[in-house]
Assembly symmetry: C2
Homo-oligomer: 337 residues x 2
């Protein structure tokens, strides 16, 4: 594959794809005009799974997701959405090429406010570099849905359809307050030169927002007195989740991407691309009411483009996109038909 | 008033009421058998507002409430439930005597696990000291409702009716996990010898559980970039709340009373006193489903005592008992008639 150099992207580094076969990875150096931090040199990393000639779908997950969506022969380690990309599924790489990026800021080196719209610009730079004129679809979940909405608003000619799962046109003020306190946990840890303890606590707090009381009630029991302290039944699980997370996440990456969610602010009326809005009734971070509002505003502004609304039920709340594989596949099959 | 000495309470300190008139306060030294920490000497502090001869109602609030429920001529500083005790209300001290205690552990000196049932025993010791044979009612909110249920289960002959508002027979595993993380925030602060920052964060996290997304959406807007960081709109409010809280709360008191909530574990079938269960549909800490379960189990075991269920709607969620004065008064008027 040849690397076309994007307008706005300087050619001083352009790593060729470092693998060939059923998937390839690459990186490009690029200058982007960030909305809250001015012109910055950044490195953009992407992965593209599936054979040339298939329609290209950009897949974007939450702030902890990365470019490795699906395990392939070339990159066999587990991807974050393997189940959704299984053989026969709508996102099976044998049927569609799956393109994804590492979020701008995910390496912890870009320590500035990052707007979700900046991520959309970064994706365009990658498309330009790869010579991809138009995405067949953008499937975004959580933060990825916010970025997808920005992409649809800013770069409509590059996109045929958006599926926005569990992410909307704004950050809800209550969820923003929750994230602000998660960032304070990191800051509290940093005061003692131990950002890892703070990041662990932040991640545990985040998990509570991703899941539901119903799931915790089904999984966990009552508290016990252990060594003179009360220990609740979910703490082992939360410790396990935090350990896995802090091993792979720079605190700065968490802070800047968490902030980025809170910067989401978009007028749905600016979108001129068909959108499927997917909400989960039990979502505690992205209330289903916000999805209704997004959908109604899309209908009012874009009636002829027939936006779609799907409301799923899930014990897993905001994390449904990682758990409800069959239901999500049904939505994607219809949307991408 | 003479101070009768409770069985189990030793007479080596018994402070006489230190005020007279429309309200009085006192303290007594007492030995209690704590369920998770053995026999301990504790000091119990109470306040009793209203003239002798009126029916006595024990009022108990959340873990941050204290014995000063209502402002009186004798103690004119604001009480935590002044609005609910206004002239003409069911809890008007001109109509009922209002008795309350400082929670066991609230001075930060009792650094051991404290069971809600221990609090019920402490209240009995105070009743014995004051020569009060039977409470006309126990009105408990949040943690106070949990303690009230324990009191009803353990000391039925001392109580005519319980009103349990926004607290049930168990701590919900999800809410327990939230509280465990709040306690970890205090521990994270303590690692740097600054429990105050940790306690501030814990309180802010707690407030998110006490309120609702709907309220935050009505009060707060989007985030801003300030000094290179994203600041969400609710942070000023959360800072204000935390400053007020840490000025009056020893970290140990918070930790041990927060733990105590998670130790709540009671079989509703053991209750042989009429109970009015009051739930708030929007409560994120005490799901209304738990109130239904409590009520149904009371009905099954106590049908002839006619337990009552009231479900309120409130923008304030768990904090409704501090905000929905008229609705709470309606419930209390009927329950205490």
């Amino acid at each position: 594959m040849s690397l076309a150099i994007a307008a706005g992207c300087e050619p001083f580094i352009t790593s060729a794809p470092d693998s060939v076969g059923d998937a390839r990875r690459g990186a490009l150096a690029c200058t982007l005009d960030l909305r809250h931090a001015g012109r910055r040199q950044v490195q953009l990393r992407y992965e593209l799974a599936g054979e040339p000639g298939l329609p290209v779908v950009l897949v974007a997950g939450g702030i902890s997701a990365d470019r490795h969506v699906v395990a392939t022969e070339t990159f066999p380690q587990p991807g974050w959405w393997d189940a959704q990309c299984d053989a026969g599924r709508t996102l099976d790489p044998a049927r569609r090429r799956i393109l994804a990026i590492d979020w701008l800021g995910s390496d912890g080196l870009l320590d500035v406010p990052i707007d979700p719209a900046d991520q959309a610009d970064a994706i365009v730079a990658v498309l330009d570099a790869l010579g991809i004129e138009t995405l067949d679809a953008f499937v975004g979940c959580s933060y990825g849905a916010m970025v997808g909405l920005q992409f649809a608003a800013l770069h409509a000619p590059r996109l045929r359809r958006l599926v926005a799962i569990s992410g909307t046109h704004r950050a809800h003020p209550y969820a923003s307050a929750c994230r602000a306190l998660q960032r304070r946990a990191v800051a509290l840890g940093a005061l003692q030169c131990d950002e890892r303890d703070g990041l662990a606590l932040a991640r545990q707090l985040a998990i509570l927002g991703y899941r539901t009381p119903q799931e915790f009630d089904a999984r966990f029991g009552g508290a016990q007195v252990v060594g003179g302290r009360v220990r609740t039944d979910a703490e082992d699980y939360l410790d396990h989740c935090a350990a896995a997370y802090i091993a792979r996440t720079p605190p700065t990456a968490f802070l800047r991407l968490s902030e980025s969610i809170d910067l989401q602010a978009l007028e749905p009326e600016s979108i001129r691309v068909p959108v499927t809005v997917v909400a989960v009734a039990e979502d505690r971070l992205v209330p289903v009411d916000d999805a209704y509002a997004l959908f109604e505003r899309l209908v009012a502004a874009n009636g002829q483009r027939r936006p779609q609304l799907r409301v799923l039920r899930s014990l897993y709340g905001h994390d449904a996109f990682l758990k409800e594989t069959a239901a999500i596949d049904n939505v994607l099959r219809e949307a991408l038909a």
